[in-house]
Amino acid sequence: MTGPATIFDRPNTYIGKPEPRADAARLLQGRGRYVDDLNLPRMVHAAFVRSPHAHARIRAIDVTEARAAPGVLAVYTGADIAAEVTPYVGTLTHMAGLRSAPQYPLAVDVARWQGEPLVMVVARSRAQAEDACDLIDADLEELEAVCDQETALSPDSPLIHEEFGSNLAWERLVEAGDVDTAFAAPGVTVVERTFRFGRHTGVTLESRGTVCDYDPSENQLTMYYSGQAPHMMQVILSKHLGLPEEDVRVISNDVGGSFGIKIHTYGDEIAAAVAARMLRRPVKFIADRMESFMTDIHARDHVVTARIGVTAEGNIVGIDMDDLTGIGPFSMYPRTSAIECNQVLNLTGAPYALQNYRARGRVVFQNKMLMCQYRAVGHPIAMAVADGLLEEAGRAIGMDPVALRKKNLMADDSYPRQSASGMKLDDLSHQKAITKLTEIMDYDALRTDQAEARKRGVYRGIGLVSMVEVTNPSPMFYGIGGAPIASQDGATARLDAGGALHVASSITEQGQGTNAILAQIAAGVFGVPIDRVRVTTGDTRNVPYGGGTWASRGAGIGGEAMLQAAHALRDQVLEVAGTLLQTTPEALDIRDGNVVDAGTGAERMTLADLARTVYYRGNELPSDTKPELIATRHYRVTDFPFVFTNGAMAAHVEVDIETGFVKVLHFWAVEDCGRVINPMLVDEQVRGGVVQGIGGALYEECLYSPEGQLLNTTMADYIVPMAAEMPDITVAHIETPSKTSVLGAKGAGEAGTGGAPAAILNAVNDALSPLGASLWQMPMTPQRVLTALSEG
């Protein structure tokens, strides 16, 4: 790609520097503006009666007493809300065969998961709304629930949607080469394992929430929204509430974590918008922690049976896998719940030069909370299956897992190429990554320590993973299938009269530092000190149109748009400067807020002088000069469906074989996210991702009873990783810039979450191997480790 070649060595570039985030002080001083901080005049509060059963027919709901309760303004049943919206269906045309039933914000005739909203109460306070909820008498006929995905497809299973004739939502088969012949060849060892991945959820510090404000004088609905994709929400509200898009404004101020939880359509949030329009006053809904556990999308929930074939010399001849995943009673709207399974099929074994690959995925309905895209969609399953099998195969043939990887990882000079599943790959560095990883972790010394420790009855394990990560998605991800989700992003840069740079972008900030990197890119490329940049994101009325921040697309796509906009503005400003200074734009540059002589760096005029001349004293300009001190550019990924990144990670663990407790001693991550814009933010993103991955591997699971009752809905029962238990996490980088953009940035946000579970799984099994035990289920809880040991 052509573009400004010198932007990375300009004297005042901030790209690549560990700049502190401008918003850190504000957030740490408690001056964040989260949805629940908002109190609008005449605002009222919503609470919901939710289904106590996983599957139940609604016979009757008596709301008489609740309507008369103190402070109550309105009580809406499913039918009341359904009359105000059109239903939504979570299917996309490019996910061929995917089916799901029409869904309303509140259950209408049948409730299909425990926690599905049945009735909405709006009152002057949340407490009054909850009081009134307690007065509602819902007459429910409990129906048999489908909970276990492994029996959901059996002919005698109850059906969640009768009209489909089965509980199958989607199925896909990927086949390359001939696995059966490869596995049957002489000298090939075939290892088979069944992996189980529990359900977990995002546990955002700030729970889901919205304030919806409807102004009838302008037919204007404003949704203050804790979310990642404001323009997507704008379309959804417009479409299903029947409002022109321009009459819906979605504002996301500070967002306290999202991790993919907040890019979906939740009935309680849509109902809040409906209620605001009916009541003509602002309605606030904030999910409490219990509601978060019950109704934030869940993730994972896979059972995978997989085989790997390897020769005695360590050549992997193929992988054969079968993924069965439960998604709840509907496919989530609008992104669908088939994407995770699809990613598992696309990504399993993708780091390796595989000739033969077969993968079947089946996605089934069940009476549990909906499953959908959460940080590192599909990655932890794909990485754990491929690299879990790889290390098990290494044990079977007596080959060290590093040597086995080096033998099978794609060569760094072999790109562009395709994975066995047909993914287009370019600019990857697997061999460099694993070499760097083994250096920084001192792999050989760890193996020596491990052998010593075992003599003392201490069981330590070392586990690795080589991974790919899907980032910077193109229109092929959602847009092609008809989803109202922009795949491109836009950025605007505007020079103000005082010489400051105001930028706006369609990507969003949810705590990871999006606004900080936008400022870094804009300041450096345009040429002002970073403290002269102000960033606006998260407002459909005030930022360019775009997709938001998810799928590790913010830096790579939004960042490139920002770069192009800042560069365009620089050219525009230099053209004006050339006129004012009677020289050519090429003879000038912008540095540190001044127009300077490009050769000598001598100051010619300040940006403030230039801007004031343009804005206030246009009479000093020739009449044919029409200065533009604002520039907007958009960017989308072309030629590739995704920009893949790669990395390698390792975990060092100690298993207490008496209790089954796993202690993570150290973790290492080598990540190639292309050009690093802010090493401090990238490192913390990787560390945060690793911690979330450790959570999935060791702690976090949404536990359901056989009847579909969620058993753990508090932070005491659903345990997340905490700082005291987390290891030091060493992060190192390889920078192979993407050729798809000038900036060359790929995503980094999901690497840790995608890779860490596989590394932990491998490390635990490495520790258990001398005892003849192994465990293939996540989370690897103390109980499961003990059970594995007793069976070993």
């Binding site: 407490a127 009081d131 209790t659 407790f661 005291a724 109980q783």
Partner: protein, 281 residues
């Protein structure tokens, strides 16, 4: 998650508090540090009509040495206890306090609140049983005392009547030669124990005057006299422990979403072994 409406009183004396409780016909709930009660009210698991806040009652505060006993007022927070030099006389509590929840909870949670709530997985009831502490109650008929070993009756159930208040706990200070052990099994520091144990002994070679309190194993903190007897007089070796462990059959071990009852029984033995090993080292 908002509590239902309730009336709130903040009495200034113990007598006033008792009369509020007596007049409420069982519908009042004393509020101590609120670290358990407030979440239970917000979850609408508890819905008292009247909340009697004990924060303003001087008689419930203070830590005082009284001869061979340390008297700890019911409204003493974990933090105040941890910071009080007098606690050096009761090393078992000092050993246990860092394991009780986290700073935020220890800053507000109270000793009396924990004892009166009687959560089966909490440390404080087991500590008091192991130390043979005496619990002071006050009620409409005046004060009375209950040995800690007789105070805990079941899930959130104690010998404290609805019209009574827990005023203080008197804990025997350590005697020369006494040794203590404490161990709990948690996946994360500060969690409720999956099994925990507190130990006191007047001698170690052989073990004498042994008291062992278990928590996080059943419906309440408990001691098992037959188990204590079986270990007494032994050297506390792994063999001696293994010989004594069957006596824990007296405990009805409970399973939950994390571990089975069988694993919990195993954990009780592991915690005991680890606490004893450290104590005897």
């Amino acid at each position: 998650m908002k509590a239902p409406d309730f009336d709130y009183c903040r009495p200034g004396t113990l007598a006033e508090a008792l009369s509020l409780l007596a007049g409420a016909d069982g519908e009042a709930q004393p509020l101590a540090g609120g670290q358990s009660l407030m979440p239970m009210m917000n979850f609408r698991v508890a819905a008292p009509e009247i909340l009697v806040d004990l924060a303003g009652i001087p008689e419930l505060r203070g830590i005082a040495r009284q001869g061979d006993m340390l008297r700890i007022g019911a409204m003493t927070t974990y933090r105040e206890l941890q910071d009080d030099p007098a606690l050096q006389a009761v090393p078992l509590i000092a050993m246990a306090l860092p394991h009780i929840a986290h700073d935020a909870v220890r800053n507000r949670g109270t000793i009396g609140g924990s004892l009166a709530l009687a959560d089966a997985a909490a440390e404080m009831p087991a500590l008091m049983m192991t130390l043979n502490a005496v619990i002071e109650l006050a009620g409409p008929d005046g004060p009375r005392e209950v040995p800690a070993t007789e105070f805990f009756l079941g899930y959130y159930e104690t010998a404290c009547e609805p019209d009574e208040l827990l005023v203080a706990v008197r804990v025997p200070v350590a005697q020369p030669g006494e040794v203590f052990g404490f161990h709990e099994l948690v996946q994360r520091h500060g969690d409720y124990a999956m099994a925990g144990v507190a130990i006191r002994a007047t001698g170690v070679a052989p073990i004498a005057g042994l008291a062992v309190g278990f928590f996080g194993v059943s419906d309440r903190a408990l001691r098992v006299p037959a188990f204590e007897e079986a270990l007494t007089g032994t050297d506390g070796s792994e063999a001696a422990i293994a010989a004594a462990l069957p006596k824990l059959d007296a405990i009805e071990f409970e399973g939950d979403t994390k571990i089975s009852a069988e694993t919990r029984r195993h954990y009780a033995g592991v915690a005991l072994k680890r606490a004893l090993k450290e104590m005897l080292a």
